[in-house]
């Protein structure tokens, strides 16, 4: 059975006004357990909207969302987040800046009852997990997260999102706001955690090489639809040029994304 199944989901924003925009139109997608799927697409193709629909930021107008056999179409966002981890492009969104590293981790771990304080065991576990990041954060557990750099905050968010292994991890250009060296490091961590933990993952990127190089399957989106879906051996032999050609064939026009990276960076 599929881990995530989207059946013909549609979403129109501002219906009946001049700003009406059909952001998702009858999109279907099925992800197997352990799939690591990269997503590329033009500006306004609906990539982030797709993530918002899956995470529950809004309810879809039509269609159904199923996660691991459970219909979550009308489940509110905070309940979905028990099973869906998520990272945004903005490293500030995933952590509470005025709380300490260990307090952020304690919230993400979500263990114990409402009135249980952080135990020594929790701290030891957090320290162990933080050491995996190799950023020295394990020695700064009582410092507020606001003191960390963007890359450190994003790495921490990744750790928090996967603390309790989620059924699905959504990565929305989570390295795009970081400097190249830090981005590489966070990407390596992502690969380690996702592939090591066999976590089903969707990753939006604007880097075409990354899209082909990471994961086992690549989707291209345009105008709220999936126009290309490649995986396996077909994908293994593809270069960026092939991908762009296939996009043109699928979407009927060339890919236009002012931030797209065609070269290796």
């Amino acid at each position: 059975m599929a881990m995530l199944a989207l059946e013909k989901i549609s979403k129109t924003f501002n219906p009946g006004t001049v700003n009406e925009k059909k952001a998702l139109s009858g999109l279907s997608l099925s992800l197997e357990e352990g799939d690591f799927v990269t997503i590329v697409g033009s500006n306004g193709a609906g990539k982030s909207t797709l993530f918002n629909a899956v995470a529950g930021d809004f309810y879809v107008d039509e269609g159904f969302v199923t996660l691991d056999g459970q219909d979550i179409t009308y489940l509110p966002a905070h309940k979905r987040s028990r099973q869906i981890g998520r990272l945004f492009q903005d490293p500030m969104r995933g952590t509470a800046p005025h709380m300490t590293i260990e307090e952020n981790l304690a919230l993400a771990a979500g263990s114990g009852g409402w009135f249980s304080p952080m135990s020594r065991g929790d701290r030891a576990r957090f320290r162990e997990r933080l050491a995996l990041l190799d950023m020295g954060l394990e020695d700064r557990m009582r410092q507020p997260v606001g003191l960390l750099s963007g890359g450190q905050r994003q790495a921490l968010t990744l750790l928090m999102a996967t603390m309790v292994p989620p059924k699905l991890l959504l990565l929305d250009e989570h390295t795009a706001a970081l400097d190249p060296a830090t981005a590489d490091k966070v990407l390596a961590l992502t690969r380690e955690i996702v592939e090591g933990g066999h976590i089903t993952c969707l990753m939006i990127t604007h880097n075409m090489h990354q899209a082909l190089e990471m994961g086992n399957r690549t989707l291209m989106m345009d105008a709220g639809r999936i126009v290309l879906d490649v995986g396996g051996e077909e994908r293994a032999g593809m270069g960026v040029e092939d991908l762009l050609a296939r996009f043109k064939a699928g979407a009927g026009r060339a890919l236009d994304n002012d931030r797209i990276l065609l070269s290796e960076e």
Binding site: H78, R82, G94, A96, A106, L107, F115, P117
Partner: protein
């Protein structure tokens, strides 16, 4: 001596309101205007319980009633989409009538009615300092409970709600729930203050809550400015200290024959100036910088 005792007593009596605003305003980032009405509701419930002969039961009863008022505000703002300040104002106005209903009159005297203070006095607790001792004991217990609570998972969730609601949602916690719990707790603390004040003053008056939110905000701001931020223990201690310092200022002003009614203006100025301080400081520093660079350029041009 009496001025010190009076100021300390008042400082502790009103400290729970400052702690309430610490929770709602500093931590949850919500300006909770329920405070004035919740304070009087605490007074009213406490007074009615005392008249019925239950001065000890009066304390939790008043806290529970005030928590219910906080729940109404929270419900209006989280479930019904009323803007948070308006939600508090609406509840506050409604509470005026509720408070009259609870007391059955606009001013309820507790003269010659047993209170937690007369109980302590009759038991010979802490000699002539019994009023301060009883109040301080209750407030210190409250501070300890608050600090411990803010370390629990629920406490952390409430703190995170004011810091980054997205992150709370991502941790599978409903911000609606944390805001509701936070406002109920904050108002329960305000109710505790009202309960103590009514028994201390031996009367409850339906108009005694006017401006209470600003007075408490002044105490909170003094505490945060002087003691600063840091660990939760330090911040809570700072709020308590702020409440006591404010009452010393108040007592000193009364000593200097400033009419009591003018103290509201003094409080308003303290709050206004303290909250505006960072902006004023930035403006002054910028003007100095501008003046200096211009002066340096003029000097350079003359050479």
């Amino acid at each position: 001596m009496t001025i010190v005792q009076t100021a300390l007593e008042a400082g502790f009596l009103y400290a729970p309101i400052a702690l309430a605003l610490f929770l709602s305003f500093s931590i949850l980032n919500i300006a909770d205007m329920t405070t004035d009405g919740a304070f009087v509701l605490g007074c009213a419930v406490s007074a009615v319980c005392c008249v019925a002969g239950h001065p000890i039961l009066a304390i939790p009863a008043a806290m529970l009633a005030a928590a219910a008022a906080g729940f109404v505000t929270a419900f209006l703002q989280t479930r019904l989409g009323v803007p948070s300040i308006l939600a508090g104002i609406v509840t506050n106005i409604g509470l005026y009538s509720i408070n009259l209903m609870v007391m059955g009159t606009s001013n309820l005297s507790l003269f010659q009615v047993g209170s937690i203070y007369t109980l302590a006095r009759d038991a010979g607790f802490a000699g002539s300092w019994y009023e301060l001792a009883v109040t301080a004991l209750l407030v210190l217990v409250l501070c300890a409970v608050l600090v411990l609570f803010l370390r629990t998972r629920l406490g952390l969730s409430i703190r995170a709600t004011g810091d980054n609601a997205d992150m709370v949602r991502a941790s599978s916690i409903n911000p609606t729930f944390t805001v509701t719990v936070g406002l109920c707790l904050a108002n329960a603390m305000t109710g505790l203050s009202g309960a103590m004040v009514a028994q201390y003053n031996t009367f409850a008056d339906v108009n005694s809550g006017t401006g209470m939110v600003v007075l408490a905000l002044a105490a909170l701001v003094i505490g945060e400015t002087l003691i600063g931020k840091g660990s939760m223990v330090r911040r809570v201690a700072g709020v308590l200290a702020g409440s006591i310092i404010y009452r010393f200022i108040y007592a000193a002003a009364l000593r200097a024959n400033v009419p009591a009614d003018y103290m509201k203006l003094v409080s308003a100025v303290i709050v206004g100036v303290a909250i505006a301080a960072p902006a004023i400081r930035r403006w002054v520093l910028f003007q100095i910088h501008k003046f200096r660079t211009r002066a340096a350029r003029t000097r350079g041009g003359n050479m």
